[in-house]
Every structure is written in structure tokens, then in C-alpha cells.
Symmetry: C2
Subunit: 363 residues, 2 copies
């Protein structure tokens, strides 16, 4: 399912085969929690060249419900997106007060963000949901410990995550769907290693670093990736969940990660922060009032080819939906294009130089 | 500037030449008050085949300010729309509490919806704003009486409208820009006729029925159009301001109107009401939960070709921006396509049959 094409240091490029096409790694997934990336249609995503998106299995099980998506012929047909779709719904719900209640041996007790109704989400139930949604890649149920919890608590969460991982494999029935495991361990090197070793022995199609980039010091993030990456098999993709900041992406790729998702680029866009080849640009800033340049003169996206900073600033100042759309489009294009450039740099064995140059320019 | 191509009863089809292309009449303009049709980019509008849009001169004079638009090279370059752009900002502000304070002999006293600041908008000032925005068609400043006002008050408003019309002509300096006059008269046939006669003698490139479709009984709307249309010259376009409901559009065309604008289709879309060949469809309705049909099986728009009622309902139920976008796109396409069909029917001398058929089917 995964073919490694080239390595440059720890950075890798490869091809992940899914039921909806091949994904070149490293890649970034925009988040389509409810089957929609806010302000971008599937057509936009395909025009940008997005290879995969990620949706939330638990949310979809509540609205519109898995039967509606099943009747539509699966999540791809339901939303009309033709490339790969990941689904997940695990421990990361913990950082969302609107969802998480508590964790038990059997599963996560979550509440519906729509009506507050409590529900036990077991490994078996989550597999059933994802099997029915018919996404290309399902993620296991995990318990994500917060790094601020005691080591004992984190250790228990790791054990529970391991137990659930085995249950997920047992209940995963969709043959066309890949299944990725998730390793945890907080900020404890020994627990991280232990978890990576355990999870990587199970029959997964890919492996995720869970519980990182949730507020811990950035140095620690990379230390934890380093402690786990060496235990993950070379011939499987490695997914760093929840990362979408340009600098973190490039550094995580340097550490050996292949796959990412985050609302960071889309949320930043909606809050006026745009990514450019020279760093962040806050479009609402008054200095852009009469600026007829594109967001980024080095960007080839439809927005940069057609709209000025002055126009986008005006729309954003007045809260016009088109402003949100233009900003979102640009940020997603920027990240996707960064991934393309990174893949090329890895193939051409100049990734480290590219990374340093990028970090020097991206203020 | 306007060439009449065919007539069928009072319904007409023709071509209005503007600095940004020819417009086939009858036509409908989506409203882009702040240089953006909510949820549709200029690219979408051009894809749909929208020939013209209308923006608000007073609003643009406040945000971003006419200098910003002038520096960008005019409103077309500012927003990157390549077809015709109308601008207006007259008496219709009266029905918007957020704008209107009062009317004096000199002009309208308006307040900024952004900071509440009062401002006198004179005919001269409005012409200067529109000349600078460089829209293709400018509308005069008028005083729109409410039909609930006394006949004496309406008569005074009509006289003021006439005086301002002459001042607008005097101060209109942009040679590439067309200028349309507006006739008023409340629901008084004699005042309507008097106003149409007066305005049609002035050197305008088109003539508008003002102060209609603002809540009066629909029968009265057509009676007022009928009383004015006969005084408007045949060789100039006739603009019924503020109408966008499918039934009213087709009936107004039957009465001899050529040009329309309204937020009706876009606002309806955002409130879940979609137009179809068999009438209105409320997409949030639970009966569409698992409905895999398009919004309208007879519609060729991108949305109907790619998304199901079930998916759009799901997005609208959860307030996802993409839902608003899909619904807006469809409704604007529907109205634009209706205009196309109407033009064809007029040319083929079967407009009345087409109209009756449409009204029978459109519940």
C-alpha cells in the first residue's frame, strides 16, 4: 500500500495507494469535519491539487448519521470528493470541551455537540462507523493523555490505547479501507518508545504520532517524534496528527513524518493571517488598504493571480464570505504547494537546504 | 446604446451596450453591495453567465472609499469582474433603517452603517462617487416616497426626484458611463404618469420604475408599471428596481420591463428556499434527508450536476458555508436561466405561452 521512493536524511517521499487514488507523501490534509472544508468546495480542492482530506467519524455518525451516508453510496459520493478521504474520531476529542466527557476501559464517553446526548464510543462502534462511511483510511480509537497528566495516568492511557488498537483491528471489516494505528506516550520518551514498539507490531497500514502539537513546547514535539519514528516501520506511512503550521510541517518532515492534518491553515485564513513565501501577512492591516499586489507575488494560486490585497482586505474588514473564501483558498494552496516543493527537494536530495532556506525566509 | 431586437406583446428583448460588453435584455443582476455577491466569486458569476451585477455607491464611498477603488483602476479592476456593473444609491435607502435619516431639498441625509456618521448625499456628490467608481451604469439620486405616505408628500418627493434628476445630468461627467433616470409616484397613477413623462424627456440612457415592490399589493405594482411604461421611450431600457422573485420577474417582463436587481434569490438561498422548475423547495425539510436527487432535475447548473439534496440539506442544517454557497449558486443560475429562456421565447413570439406555463408549474 505504501512505496518509499526516496529518502534524504530522515525526510521521505513515497506513494500511498488508496481506494481513491495514489497519494504522494509527504502530504497535508485540510479538515472537512462535517464533509465540507469551510469555504472550499470539492471542486476547489481538486483544482488546488489536494490529494486527501479528513472528516470526523463521530460527528458524521450524529449528523447526518451513517445510514444517510451509506444510502448515498459512501462518504465520497455523499460529498462528491474524488480523492482520498481519511476519517478519525479518537482521543483528540479530549481537547474539545464540546465533545469529551471521560474515558473508560470500554471506550470514550462523548457528548453530542448538537444535542448534548451522551454516548459510549467503543473501538468496535468506531470501526463500524468508519467501515460504513467507507472512507479510504480509518483511524483507530485511542485514548490521548494530556501531557500535563501524571506519568501514571499517561501510562494507563497508553495501555488502554494499545488494548483498543487490537480491538479495532479485530472489528475492522472494510477490505478496501486502510487502517492506521496511533501511538501515544505524552512527553515521556520511554512511554513513547514503548507505545511505538507495541503499535508497530500490529497489522496496521500506517502509524500515527498521537497527542502531540497540543500545546507542549515545540522542542518536545520533535523529541517525541524522534523517539517513536525509529520504531515505526520504514515501509509504512507516518502520520503526525494535528499539525498544519508551515514551520512545524517542514520540521516534522525532517524528523520523518509523512502525513498531516490540521485546521490551522483554514482557521488562520478566517482570522486574517495568510501564509506567504516571506512569512505571515495579516491582511486586515491598514498598510494593505491600497496595496494592489497579490497576497504573495511568488504564489500561483487562483486568488493571487486574480485578486489584490486591497480587495481582499476590504472584504475581510466587512466580513464578506468571499473574503473568507479567498483567504482559505490561498492558505490551503500555500501548504499544498509547500508539500509539493518538499517532495521535489527530497527526491533531489536537497531537502535540508530547502528547509533551512524556507525557515530563514518564513518569518 | 440600446437596440430593441424583438417584441412579443409588451415583452421585449434587446441589447444594451456598455463599456464592459453587451447585455441581452431582459436580464437580472445579483446584488454585490460591497463589491461581492455573498458566497459567489466573480468567476462563479461569469461561469453562470451573469451579464451584470449592481453595487452600492454610497456604501463603497464609505468602505473602502472611492480613492481606494480609483487607485485600483475602477470598480471592475478592484473586484475583478469583467462584465457590466451598475451602481446606485438613492431613495431605496429609505427602507433601510441602518442608512436613512431624512430627505431635504439638497439631498438625502444618510448615516454610515459602519460608524453612524451622518452625511448629506447630494445629486452632485452621488454623481462624483459613481463617476469615480467608473461603473458602467450610474443611477440618479431620487427620493423614493413610501406608498403609505400622503399624496401630498408623494407629490413633493416626485418633484424633488425630478429636480435631482436634472442636477444629476448636469454633474454626470464620466463619458464611458451610462446614466439611468428613475421615475416615482407611489401608487398614484396620475403621479406615476407625470413622473414618467418628466423623466423620459431628460437625456438618460435608461429609465427606472422606482419605489415599487416594497410591500404594496402586487396588482398595484403592475398597474403602476403599466401607467409608466407607455411614457418611457421604446428605444431605451426599462429597469424595475428591487424585483427578484421568479413570478414577479416574468410578470414584469410581460408588462414591458427589461432589467432587474434584487437580493431576493440570494437571501432566499441563505434561508433554505431554492427555486426549481416546479416551484420553491425548502431544502431543510426532513423529507430530503436521504434524497439523492439534485435540487432540480431540470437544472444544468454545476450544483445540480454534482450535489444531492441530501448533502446540501446536511450542510445547511449544520450552517456550513459550502451549503450557503451551493444554494446561492443554484438560485442565481435558476434566475439567470429563466431570463435566457424568456429572451428566447420573446424572440420566438411565444412569450405569453411560456409565461403561463411557467406560472402554472412554479408553485
Amino acid at each position: 500500500m505504501f512505496k518509499l521512493i526516496a529518502k534524504d536524511g530522515n525526510a521521505r517521499t513515497g506513494i500511498l495507494k488508496t481506494a481513491h487514488g495514489k497519494i504522494e507523501t509527504p502530504f497535508f490534509m485540510p479538515v472537512a469535519t462535517k464533509t465540507a472544508v469551510k469555504y472550499l468546495d470539492p471542486k476547489d480542492l481538486e483544482e488546488i491539487g489536494i490529494q486527501a482530506i479528513i472528516s470526523n467519524a463521530f460527528v458524521l455518525s450524529l449528523r447526518p448519521g451513517i445510514q444517510t451516508i451509506k444510502k448515498a453510496g459512501g462518504i465520497h459520493k455523499f460529498m462528491n470528493f474524488h480523492n482520498a478521504i481519511f476519517t478519525d474520531s479518537g482521543g483528540f476529542q479530549k481537547i474539545k470541551d464540546s465533545f469529551y466527557i471521560k474515558s473508560t476501559d470500554k471506550g470514550l464517553i462523548l457528548k453530542s455537540p448538537f444535542d448534548g446526548k451522551k454516548q459510549l464510543l467503543t473501538p468496535k462502534e468506531l470501526m463500524k462507523i468508519q467501515n460504513t462511511l467507507d472512507s479510504d483510511i480509518a483511524m483507530v480509537l485511542d485514548e490521548m493523555p494530556l501531557y500535563t497528566q501524571s506519568k501514571k495516568e499517561i501510562e494507563l492511557a497508553v495501555e488502554r490505547t494499545h488494548k483498543w488498537a487490537e480491538e479495532c483491528i479485530k472489528h475492522h471489516k472494510n477490505k478496501k479501507q486502510l487502517l492506521f494505528g496511533i501511538a501515544q506516550g505524552g512527553l515521556h520518551k520511554d512511554l513513547r518508545e514503548k507505545s511505538a514498539k507495541f503499535i508497530s507490531k500490529l497489522k496496521f497500514d500506517g502509524f500515527a504520532f498521537g497527542g502531540l502539537a497540543i500545546g507542549e513546547p515545540e522542542k518536545q514535539t520533535y523529541a517525541m517524534i524522534n523517539s517513536q519514528v525509529k520504531h515505526f516501520p520504514e515501509n509504512k506511512p507516518r502520520y503526525l496528527m494535528g499539525v498544519g503550521c508551515p514551520k512545524q510541517l517542514i520540521n516534522a518532515i525532517a524528523a520523518g513524518a509523512d502525513c498531516f492534518d490540521s485546521t490551522f491553515p483554514t482557521q488562520n485564513a478566517r482570522h486574517n493571517t495568510l501564509f506567504t513565501s516571506t512569512g505571515k501577512l495579516v491582511i486586515k492591516n491598514s498598510k494593505y488598504k491600497n496595496d494592489l499586489k497579490p497576497i504573495d507575488k511568488n504564489c500561483d494560486c487562483y486568488i493571487c493571480k486574480n485578486y489584490t490585497r486591497a480587495h481582499i482586505r476590504h472584504l475581510m474588514k466587512l466580513g464578506e464570505p468571499n473574503g473568507l473564501r479567498y483567504c482559505t483558498y490561498h492558505n490551503i494552496y500555500f501548504i499544498n504547494n509547500l508539500m509539493k516543493q518538499i517532495r521535489k527537494a527530497i527526491k533531489e536530495k536537497r531537502f535540508d537546504k530547502f528547509r533551512k532556506e524556507f525557515l530563514r525566509k518564513f518569518k
